[in-house]
Amino acid sequence: MPITRRHLCAAGALLVSTLFGGCALAPPQAWERGNLAKPEMTMGADPLDQRFVQHIYGSKENASGGYGVGGGGCGCN
């Protein structure tokens, strides 16, 4: 049975609700931000890894970008 978009949406919703446990927005107080400052919690990770991998995917697949502005194209085959 091919995986349909509906299957993915259901899986995604299940994942989200499991991890959140129905918790509403509870932004941390200033002294609770310790974990958010950890390197693994930042949005942009290893810069060279990201640049390389986005570049490769951009040249082997059609979708690209979305992570930030800047950076030109290439004639990659």
Binding site: A30, W31, E32, G34, N35
Partner: protein
Amino acid sequence: MRSCGFEFQAMSSVCEIRLDGDDEAVLASAARRAIAEVRRIETTYSRYRADSIVSRINAAAGTGVPTEVDDETSALLDFAGQLHALSDGLFDITSGVLRRVWDFKCRRLPDPDRLGELLPLMGWQQVEREGYEVHLAQAGMELDFGGFGKEYAADRAMSVLADAGQRHGFVNLGGDIRVLGPRADGSAWRFGIQHPRCDADTIASVEMTEGALASSGDYERYFELDGQRYCHILDPRTGWPVRGWTSVSVTAPACVAAGALSTIAMLKGEHALDFLETQRASFFAVDLALQTFHHEQPDARRFDHGALP
């Protein structure tokens, strides 16, 4: 990368500012600014200087003439009011008048009549505030910021260090500690908690990379008479010292909170631990039988029993 300790005397205690950094001159400059801030707070809220804001408020007690205070004093008075409410009246900065009858140096119990005269002069509800104006309702009333002055100075000194660009170090004012940031290599500082009955020993320790540690105990100022210990933490309702805990140490995000929580816990006696749990404080408490109790909030560091490793 060097680790420099800058020792000084302030607020009747041995104090230290510790900073990790490369340039000792830069560290010394930052420490000087922080020490200046500690001395400023000591001077501003000193009972002994006639020109301090506290002395001026106290001198105008009962005269009907309000004293105008600045933003900082107003914020501290707000805080004192919140502590009074949240401790069910036990933490009261008008209780300083009891100093007149309790003499810890001469080891004498107070005269009951004199004590009785002082009780009506206490009570936060008698502190009249309107905007930035403060007036103490009766002559003879006093405000005393000693209950959180040292802890507040520790927090402010830390802020000055952070402003000066420092990231690694701590401020220790006679055992009231506020951590600026971890050691230069990212590891935590370890602080010992004094054993309440053996000056030279530590009963527990805790590692911290941020936040504050403060302790309250019956060993700081006290005397013993006929087998009973009378300590400096006085219940404003009776005028007599509390009994029940030998020491309570609290870790919290700010020293002024840790200090207030540990003092109120001592005042709360048998209700201390419930109070600390309700306030979501991490604590280490030692009772009269030297039994220890501790509870750490999630994400807070563990108190480790025993002497400093």
